[in-house]
Symmetry: C2
Subunit: 98 residues, 2 copies
Amino acid sequence: MNAQARQFDAVLQALSDQTRRLILDELRLRPEQTLFEICVRLTEKHQLNLTRQAISKHLNVLEAALLIRTTWKGRTKIHSLDSGPIRKLYRKWLGKYL
Amino acid sequence: MNAQARQFDAVLQALSDQTRRLILDELRLRPEQTLFEICVRLTEKHQLNLTRQAISKHLNVLEAALLIRTTWKGRTKIHSLDSGPIRKLYRKWLGKYL
DNA sequence: TTGACATGCAACCTGTTGGTTGCATATTAA
DNA sequence: TTAATATGCAACCAACAGGTTGCATGTCAA
């Protein structure tokens, strides 16, 4: 299996979880959020009661699929959406089905 | 979690496997194929050496996600692509990211 | 310097996924 | 009727996913 197929696997698998889709939605509306901010929004806005570590794992999955970019600012890690992989998936494969 | 989120989970998870994407690609180019025809195409065209039962499981996943429709014709089961769930996903969620 | 804060890392658990092998069932053809 | 054919079903397995708890690390503020 080639590299692009593996990349599509990772992107689609990352998107196949509602919690991760909610995280992306939040980052789309409000970029540059920390782990704690994301936790607060998910619990208060979406009644999603997960531990910080669970959210952190989801962020790692999204980052591994290159769907979010991160930078460190002192002791806080800033997360932002990168929709590049989704657009690539659309151009190279998914678009045929629309 | 609501029903639509679960449906999106199922569709994206079904799409997150390269073998299943190849199956959809084959059914898009040539609809109305049986399990055996799909097996032959995957092995001969894509050098994918899987047992019939493995392919059958993949077809079940795709059918559960409503990505393929099936009808019985005697002792053969005919599979066809249904891109409806992909279009719905695009309309209701993914399109925001393109 | 010390304590609070933001995050990471690792172990663990349960359920699911992707694959196999073996056998059963139903339909068609000889 | 019998044999070949197309498929389904079930058990099993290793690997992975999603979640938890507990502890470690690095940075900022008092």
